[in-house]
């Protein structure tokens, strides 16, 4: 175990959180330590904004990847509308902002000793811990779909090798083939994501394999921005995309990855040429190991700060949390990261807690020059997250071509802005 000088200083005050001491003693013990696990939309935002709000706090970001590829816009990569490189971000900008970035995996958390142990063997001490671990797949929750099966039938629901694999499979598929996607029940990462993916694969097919078909087998009765998606699919791709809802036998009960075949609740079998299984999900495993998840597999949090409802001093962000009515989106995670950073900074500096304010805007691209969106603002009221009545909502169904084109352009501008806000500055 590698002890840093700071670790030893902290250990000299064994048994007492240094933050329980008056500020002058705290200063003598070294600046407060915040460890952030996960360098995605939630974690990297929290790390950067902590340094912004409280420059004297030491912030260490733990993230295995040297370069982080975003799920947002990974569907555009599948369509051939973005390069792979354009959705990757490194951590130089965060280092320049004074964040210590450690490329390792967080393996365990000791909330009593206030330490986190890394895959490198290093142990980091923390005064406040931020967990932003994203989702993990519930392997085996869908009969026949485990990690080995995902090498044949990719989920591509974490941007990376899985996304590249799915793209290669689409490229190798003959014209006239069938792309089958299975979609889980709520809650899951990025509620509009599967339907945008259908449109982006349709865009690729229309240009390169126009006789191909897309079949969406859904465990739900309805979905995010449904009317807008169906309108856009029809307008751009005719009847290429078929969506089957749960009550029309859309729910897949079994996957045979070797045969690229799925079986529905009523026993019907569908054969695919390319099979994309989006499985049921849960909070990233480190959240469970830290004791911040409940029986649902997700992490309950305090609405005003995203501090864990279970463990004091531990904050949980993004897709791993139970934050409804906020969706599991990168935008939402980013605003949660800012609120948590402000709450932690105020706490450590002995300042009043700022009032939480959250927002979300999810753009989906249906084709080049054809974008749609859903937007919402959220706040904490009486310990609960609420979306004020009569606010937010989706793009108008009657929006004209100029409106759709503007939202497509704003979608690209949003990606540039949020990437800059988080990583690239």
């Amino acid at each position: 175990m590698a002890y840093t000088r700071r670790t030893i200083l902290g250990g000299a005050l064994a048994g007492t959180s240094t933050l329980m001491l008056p500020s002058f003693l705290r200063a003598q013990a070294g600046a407060a330590e915040v460890v952030v696990v996960g360098g995605g939309f939630g974690g990297a935002t929290a790390a950067r904004y902590l340094r912004h709000y409280a420059p004297q706090v030491r912030v260490t970001l733990v993230e295995p990847a040297q370069r982080f590829y975003t799920c947002p816009f990974s569907n555009l990569y599948l369509a051939g509308l973005r390069t792979w490189d354009s959705i990757g971000h490194d951590y130089d900008g965060l280092r320049a902002a004074g964040v210590t970035v450690v490329h390792a995996r967080a393996d365990s958390v000791d909330t009593a000793a206030r330490t986190v142990r890394l895959s490198s063997g290093q142990t980091l001490r923390w005064d406040r811990l931020v967990l932003s671990p994203g989702v993990d797949m519930r392997w085996g929750a869908l009969d026949g779909y485990d990690e080995a099966a995902s090498a044949r039938a990719p989920h591509a629901w974490k941007a990376g090798e899985q996304t590249l694999l799915l793209r290669r499979q689409l490229e190798a598929m003959p014209d006239g083939g069938r792309f089958v996607m299975t979609i889980p029940e709520n809650p899951f990462r990025c509620p509009p994501g599967p339907y945008e993916r259908a449109a982006m694969v349709a865009h690729y097919f229309k240009r390169h394999k126009p006789r191909s078909k897309i079949l969406l087998l859904d465990a739900k009765e309805n979905f995010s921005k449904q009317g807008l998606f169906q309108q856009g699919w029809k307008a751009l791709y005719g009847d290429m995309i078929e969506w089957v809802k749960q009550s029309d036998d859309g729910q897949v009960m079994r996957v045979d990855a070797a045969k690229l075949e799925v079986e529905t609740a009523f026993g019907e079998r569908h054969q695919a040429d390319v099979l994309n299984v989006i499985p049921p999900q849960k909070a990233g495993v480190i959240a469970e190991r830290a004791g911040v998840t409940n029986a649902s597999g997700w992490a309950p949090v305090k609405a005003e700060s995203f501090e864990s409802s279970h463990v004091e001093g531990v904050y949980v962000l993004g897709d791993a949390t139970i934050a409804a009515p906020m969706p599991k989106s990168g935008f939402a995670a980013n605003t949660q990261g800012k609120v948590a950073a402000a709450a932690i900074a105020a706490d450590l500096l002995g300042r009043p807690q700022p009032t939480a304010s959250y927002a979300n805007t999810c753009y989906s691209l249906i084709g080049p020059g054809y974008g749609i969106s859903v937007a919402g603002v959220y706040r904490a009221e009486g310990g609960r997250l609420v979306e004020p009545e009569g606010t937010g909502g989706v793009s108008p169904m009657e929006g004209d071509a100029a409106f759709r084109d503007a939202e497509a352009r704003y979608s690209a501008a949003w990606y540039a802005a949020i990437s800059t806000d988080i990583w690239d500055r």
């Binding site: 002058f24 802005a417 806000d421």
Partner: protein
């Protein structure tokens, strides 16, 4: 509410720590931490860090407060003909918040005093 510098003044160690900080933590960049700062931080997701946009979405930083106020009020009232998502977002903010945001983004950060 004591400012960060008021807290820091009694301790020479704090001063030493501050001097050792990288550029991002220097005095000119010391951030305001209050309700408006947290409210305005959600705008950066689309309008860019500190309201300086790197893309097709308009920048906010340094625009006249009166202009920002009128635009936000028009979005909220559904009277901005060129609006897309802002009509839906602004309905969630009250007049005081809209006023605060207009003030916040109208400040040219290059001439800003450290508060």
């Amino acid at each position: 509410m004591p400012s960060f510098f008021a807290c820091a003044r009694p301790s020479r160690l704090w001063t030493a720590l501050l001097l050792a900080l990288p550029v991002a933590g220097t005095a000119a960049d010391t951030a305001i931490l209050n309700n408006v700062a947290v409210l305005a931080a959600t705008c950066a997701n689309c309008h860019g860090p500190d309201g300086r946009s790197p893309g097709a979405i308009p920048s906010l930083r340094g625009l006249p407060a009166e202009h920002l106020l009128r635009r936000m009020q028009a979005f909220k009232a559904g009277k901005a003909a060129d609006a897309t998502v802002m009509t839906r977002l602004m309905t969630a903010y009250d007049d005081a918040q809209i006023h605060d945001l207009a003030q916040w983004f109208s400040v040219d950060l290059n001439n800003k005093e450290v508060r």
